[in-house]
């Protein structure tokens, strides 16, 4: 019986609930010192003086680093970095190299002491004076001075600029609206943390909370001028990523502190620093225009997206989903980006699609209402059967089935077209829905598999489990490919000493790493089988592969299971204590987020004929349905139930997959109802400094979330047939909720979050 797909418990669940899974900050070292960064209290300007005397004299202080005494690191150089594999650096700003301040909260000094409390207490004693300059903090007023980016993830950023204007203006059926979303912060439960351990002057080990050990190694090696082989990054457990645990350069601060003190150094990012130093999703202003023919077929879609950035090429790509959803003869997608004195924006769960689907899917709801068509029927009517931009067929697309299943499970037919029709006591009740979508990426990945004579199997790859279930699903894949139970499998991940795997970003781990693990296990199995065939003492001696099946740790003859040979017996007779195989899966489209050079035998990700990214468009789809209860007197919105139906290819573990979608929906619910990082215009600081001010949903905000999977394997993405699942869950959620609020109250709120003041 195959275990893959089964909703088994996490293999690391017991470690986590008993507190024995070791996270980065828990790798305490003998003689360890503690580093606490000091942050700027202006948003733009130069540091004129540092008075470090009081801090240096403070109890337990070992060193105070500023730009005046910190060692010089390699400077930002995008071309050279690209060559060295230094991608996903959070911010183009190497700390403590000069006196320039680019945003409020920037790291400007580092205090290292015997204890954390001593370091933090001394950090408060540092006196800094600045030459303050006028900062840019207001998006609306800075946008005209901004720029139009040319490239977005290597593709043309601006699509058909200006070309929809005449058509939409002349159309009798159209809507044009502006939607806004707020700056958000990731706030995974575990803050970023690094323990830096030097061995001599040129060998470094980092225990780091990272979504990708390989990339963290490349970044550390690059800026510290070390050979990548001399840097080891270890990250077995990560307490949530959501895009913020790419690599931020506090890791080099920890390493610098280690160089100066000649001791292992721990640096943990505080919750307040998570608002300023490790990225954010920047606010957006999105203008959407739709026009349709009298029957409700879209004739044009325009999506102008405005946002801000700083210290990175990245900007929130809100038009991504608009390029994939709905058929329309003409489509215009443009970007305008301002530069603000705020820390760098970065990838945050479904970057682009999350805020983008709020705008597009709200606009679709408005247009449907305008056309007096049910919003779900309106989407079906405008469904894009092939990729509307590239014109390629989708590798697989069951969006229409998602709509159908969702409508049925949710009870969509009970929805009234006119708002304000359903009441219960003081509550107005409304239904809303939206489409979900996220691209299905895959990258190169490598894996090694070992089996001992005792039947203990180890799967090794430098992938990450950021709470998603990677340990568990890899064990399931390996167990099935060997015909053994999951308990036999040990998965080792999160260590650069293991074969390279891509960063856990872009929902790619499952699609990328499983084909490599599967190929490695299949190679091992084949080697073992050939050993049996050539072994005169084996009952399977002289047989051929197509005559053989395997189960319960043995090979047997198809049709007669009594003619068999166990893995252990084969190994024992042939004096093999251990057998090993390694494989790299490499998509035809290139290494993507993975390593460009393969350490093991390369296997294609899928068969040649269907693995061509130029032939197919790879995307996942889904449908989100929300019911809300609105207390109209007080403006409070309660999401009372939610149905999410997802077409994400094959499901590797129904339980961990469901958890991913539930987590995504909750993430979307937070963005819809409460998450907002607010900046003070005078100071440029985020005033939502902690989780008391920056609200994320609590249990009482979260309803029962009903998740369904279409579950049909994608025949083209890989030998596994699974697409990524980490991000799609959030997409469409805020629009579904806002659309439900309209259905309940007749009020269209076009600005997130939907706080109660907007409904009064």
């Amino acid at each position: 019986m195959a275990i893959t797909g089964k909703p088994i418990d996490r293999v690391d669940g017991r470690l986590k609930v008993t507190g024995t899974a070791t996270y980065a900050a828990e790798f305490n070292q003998p003689n360890m010192a503690y580093a606490v960064p000091v942050r700027s209290t202006i948003a733009k300007g130069t540091i004129t003086t540092f008075d470090t005397v009081a801090a240096e004299k403070s109890a337990g202080v070992i060193a105070v680093l500023t730009h005046k005494n910190a060692s010089r690191l390699k400077a930002i150089n995008p071309e050279e970095q690209m060559k060295a594999g230094v991608i996903f650096i959070g911010e183009d700003l190497v700390p403590l190299q000069d006196n320039q301040v680019h945003y409020f909260g920037q790291f400007i000094a580092l205090v290292v002491a015997e204890t954390y409390e001593q370091a933090r207490s001394a950090a408060a004693l540092l006196e800094v004076t600045y030459n303050k300059e006028k900062h840019a903090i207001d998006l609306v007023s800075e946008l005209p001075k901004g720029y139009k980016p040319k490239l977005l993830f290597g593709r043309e950023a601006q699509l058909n600029t200006g070309k929809t204007a005449d058509l939409i203006a002349a159309s009798p059926h159209k809507i044009e609206q502006t939607y806004t979303t707020s700056t958000e912060n990731h706030h995974p439960m575990e803050p970023h943390a690094t323990v830096a351990v030097w061995e001599g002057a040129d060998k470094l080990t980092l225990y780091d909370a990272t979504q990708g050990v390989v990339i963290t190694r490349a970044i550390a090696a690059y800026f510290l001028n070390l050979k990548p082989d001399n840097v080891r990054v270890i990250s077995p457990f990560v307490g949530g990523g959501f895009g913020t645990k790419g690599t931020w350069l506090h890791i080099v601060l920890a390493a610098m502190a280690g160089q100066v003190t000649k001791r292992p150094v721990k640096l943990v990012i505080s919750r307040q620093m998570m608002q300023t130093n490790v990225g954010r999703r920047s606010a957006t202003i999105q203008k959407i225009a739709l026009s349709s023919d009298p029957k409700g077929k879209l004739t044009a879609i325009r999506h102008n997206s405005e946002t801000y950035t700083n210290l990175t090429q990245f900007f929130e790509p809100s038009g991504l989903a608009t390029a994939v959803l709905y058929e329309a003869p003409l489509r215009e997608i443009t970007y305008q980006v301002a530069k603000l004195n705020v820390g760098a924006p970065t990838f945050m769960r479904a970057p682009g699609e999350a805020p983008g689907t709020f705008a597009l899917e709200s606009a679709m709801d408005e247009m449907a209402f305008e056309m007096k068509i049910d919003p779900l029927a309106f989407r079906v009517l405008n469904h894009a059967a092939t990729d509307p931009e590239t014109k390629h067929p989708f590798s697989a697309n069951y969006l229409l089935e998602c709509y159908r299943v969702g409508a049925e499970k949710f009870g969509w037919s009970a929805r009234k077209m006119q708002p304000r029709q359903t009441r219960n006591g003081k509550y107005l009740i409304g239904y809303g829905m939206a489409t979900a979508t996220y691209p299905a990426g895959r990258s190169s990945a490598s894996a090694r598999v070992q089996m001992t004579i005792k039947g203990e199997i180890k799967v090794m790859t430098a992938a990450s489990d950021i709470g998603t279930g990677t340990y568990t699903v890899l064990a399931q894949t390996a167990a099935d490919a060997l015909g053994v139970s999951v308990e036999r499998i040990t998965v080792e991940i999160g260590d650069t000493n293991l074969p390279p795997a891509p960063i856990a970003g872009g929902s790619q781990t499952t699609a990328s790493v499983h084909p490599a693990v599967l190929a490695a296990v299949e190679t091992l199995r084949k080697d073992l089988m050939l050993l049996a065939f050539s072994d005169t003492k084996s009952k399977l001696n002289g047989r051929k592969a197509d005559e053989i099946d395997f189960a319960k740790g043995k090979f047997y003859l198809k049709g007669d299971a009594s003619i068999s040979d166990s893995y252990a017996d084969i190994m024992s007779r042939n004096n093999k204590q251990i057998m090993e195989a390694c494989a790299t899966s490499m998509p035809a489209s290139g290494s993507g987020l993975g390593a460009p050079v393969a350490p093991c035998m390369v296997v294609p990700l899928a068969t040649e004929e269907n693995s061509d990214a130029k032939k197919y468009s790879f995307h996942s789809f889904g449908a989100q349905f929300a019911e809300v209860w609105v207390d109209e007197d007080l403006g409070t919105i309660r999401v009372s139930r939610f149905t999410s139906v997802q077409d994400v290819g094959r499901i590797m573990n129904e339980k961990t997959a469901r958890s991913q979608i539930i987590g995504g929906v909750i993430f979307g619910l937070g963005a819809a109802l409460m998450e907002e990082t607010q900046y003070d215009k005078h100071w440029g600081n985020p005033v939502t400094r902690s989780l008391a001010d920056y609200h994320v949903p609590v249990n009482a905000d979260v309803p029962q979330i009903d998740v369904h999977f279409i579950g049909k394997p994608d025949p083209h993405i890989s030998s596994i047939g699974a697409r990524g699942i980490g991000e799609i869950g959030i997409t469409g959620v805020s629009a579904a909720i806002a659309n439900a609020v309209f259905n309940a109250t007749g009020k269209r709120i076009r600005s997130l979050p939907l706080t109660l003041d907007k409904l009064l």
């Binding site: 409460m674 900046y679 600081n685 400094r689 609200h695 609590v698 905000d701």
Partner: protein, 336 residues
């Protein structure tokens, strides 16, 4: 957090003496606020005097004096124990509701009643030492006055401070005419009417309350009342739980036939102190309990509101919250 000395005592008078001997010392009870403030470098005591071993932990019916028949809750009783006390649940359900609307179960398990009174504002300019704040550092200005002030005051503020008192419990206590009992350096008790305990900011926003140095809360007394059947605490916030109030209303009615014999209304999230809605009370006293009268009462109170740039919505929300809380109270005080 800066280094500090940890002291402890079982005797109230020696606790007070220890406090008076060191001007940089502070009392430590549940620690749910002071420790956060120390970690943020807002409070910088060099000594914490642990008073959790003092015996002010009783919850009991008052057997003599002006508040006879009322209830006395210990200054060091836990919020959880207070909220769940059977007599309080039966006779003072407004207090139970208000306490349970605040913080989280874990925090209420640690937090004491005296500490609840003395907790400090959650204004983020107060918490951020990089920002100006007259409450934290007199004379530096008020960052929130021209900054982000969505959570801030609409009553009683001055240009020196627009912060609000964060407590839910205190809103119920001011509505119920509670009295704060303290002992001072002379070892004698003093009774402070709850409405006079906390202060408006004026030009001394660094002073949250009218305690004189060395005073220690021993208990809070709530006089007997006839509100148990018709009281309600409404808290309106940005999420369903574990958030400070945008506006909260404690409403208590004593109704005879349909006539309002007694009425108490107080608001949270609107001022530097728990705000007793005197104007609304005056309007309602002796009138019939009706939606129209509730509406006019709410108008009477809220016409004096002076909102800031980002909290204009609190005026309309305040009105609606008063009406809702009074309606719920009239209907028996249960959540429907």
């Amino acid at each position: 957090m800066r280094p500090f000395k940890f002291s402890s005592t079982k005797d109230p008078n020696s606790a007070i003496k220890m406090l008076m001997d060191n001007t940089n010392a502070k009392f430590l009870a549940g620690g749910t606020n002071i420790l956060d403030l120390m970690k943020e470098d807002v409070e910088r005591p060099d000594e914490l005097i642990d008073i959790t071993s003092l015996h002010f932990t009783q919850i009991k019916t008052i057997s003599e004096g002006t508040n006879k028949g009322g209830i006395s809750i210990g200054g060091l009783s836990k919020n959880t124990d207070t909220a769940n006390d059977p007599v309080i649940r039966r006779d003072f359900p407004l207090l139970t509701q208000a306490i349970l609307a605040g913080a989280s179960a874990q925090i209420r398990n640690m937090a004491t009643n005296g500490g609840n009174l003395n907790q400090r504002t959650r204004c983020s300019y107060f918490y951020d030492t990089a920002m100006p704040c007259n409450k934290r550092e007199p004379g530096t200005g008020c960052g929130a006055r021209e900054g982000i002030n969505r959570m801030h005051a609409i009553f009683g503020w001055t240009n020196n401070c627009v912060a609000v008192h964060p407590s839910d419990m205190c809103v119920a206590l001011v509505a119920l005419d509670a009295v704060v009992i303290v002992i001072g350096t002379d070892g004698k008790s003093r009774a402070i009417p709850f409405a006079d305990y906390h202060r408006l900011p004026g030009d001394t926003p660094h002073k949250d309350n009218n305690l004189v140095p060395g005073e220690l809360i021993t208990s809070v007394e709530i006089p007997k009342n006839n509100f148990a059947g018709n009281s309600y605490y409404l808290k309106v916030r940005d999420r369903a739980s574990y958030a400070f109030a945008l506006v909260s209303v404690a409403a208590a009615l004593e109704i005879n036939g349909n006539q309002i014999k007694q009425v108490r209304i107080a608001m949270g999230g609107v001022a530097h102190k728990p705000w007793r809605a005197i104007e609304a009370e005056k309007f309602l006293l002796g009138k019939s309990a009706s939606n129209e009268n509730f509406k006019q009462a709410a108008e009477a109170e809220m016409q004096h509101a002076k909102p800031l740039e980002h909290n204009k919505f609190k005026v309309e929300l305040g009105k609606r919250a008063i009406i809702r809380a009074l309606t719920q109270a009239m209907n028996g005080g249960t959540n429907s």
